[in-house]
Amino acid sequence: MHVVVGGAFNGKRKWVKKFYALDDTASYQWFCGYDEQIHIADLFHTKQFEKITIIEGIEQYIFQIMNQFAEWRNYWDMMVEAWRGWEKEGKGTIVVIGNDITKGIVPVDQQERLWRDACGFCFQDLVKKADRFDIIWYGLNERLK
């Protein structure tokens, strides 16, 4: 698993596309948390994953999971375990892209605040389990793992 994190509009998507040479000829699966409609269940359907599977905007999926499940951490663990299981079978690599929302002013809104906390927790969990971790700064990567 490859975790890519950075601030908004720092060129994370562009960097991933270039790093994995994801042009028109490449076969990959791209899940985008910024789509109008997102389905968390998609992230469990590992049968649909391709050799390179990208999950962009993980913070948006985290937001959904938190709002839909009281025991959202269990759900999160199950999901990440499903990814790792798929990778262990040698089927490919999962690239998780997250917008780092953990660094601003403490939000007044409780939901926003909990979401931010959850992102901190989940990003840390992902990085712990990742083979590689990069932070993107205006198109440049800083490899931390």
């Binding site: 601030g7 908004a8 720092n10 929302i101 002013i105 700064w137 205006y138 440049l140």
Partner: protein
Amino acid sequence: MFTFITGGVRSGKSSWAERYVLKQRKKGSRFVYIATSQPTDEEMKHRIFLHQKRREQSDVDWLTIEQPTDIGKLSKTLTSNDLVLLDCLTTLLTNELFKKNEDWVEDPLYRRFVFEKIWNELMLFTKCAQFVLVSNEVCWEGALRSKLVYHYIRLLGHLHQRIVERADLAIRMEFGVPIAMKGELE
């Protein structure tokens, strides 16, 4: 030589940038400071005053030019001997956008125009011996709910990306400590 510096507020970007420019001094160098801030309150006036005082006290003469918008107009007066410091990109972007009140929030064409205008005007300064551009780190906010903030951060982020790609030296300032993200600090 094109140098880009960004960091949080009060991280020491401006004073570092000034010292950095002074170090590039050669025979015939002229020091040019382009200020984009327009004071809107007393605190702001005071901040600008402190910046001015610091430059006055330095052992070289700075040519200070106040240019809140349309920085491209200055390029004719600049030469390849000039060491130019522009402080800062965020206020320049704000000033350019708000020329049109808040209409720009709902006007993608105007936003695109401002983006290209600023980029093209900045590039005119790269003919100078040294062009140091100071900006501010504002991308770490999760609350992108407001349309205005969203579009502002988006524009600034895209400008930063393009600038870093083009810059010879890109510095991330962390509480007074400069980190060379691209290029080497001597």
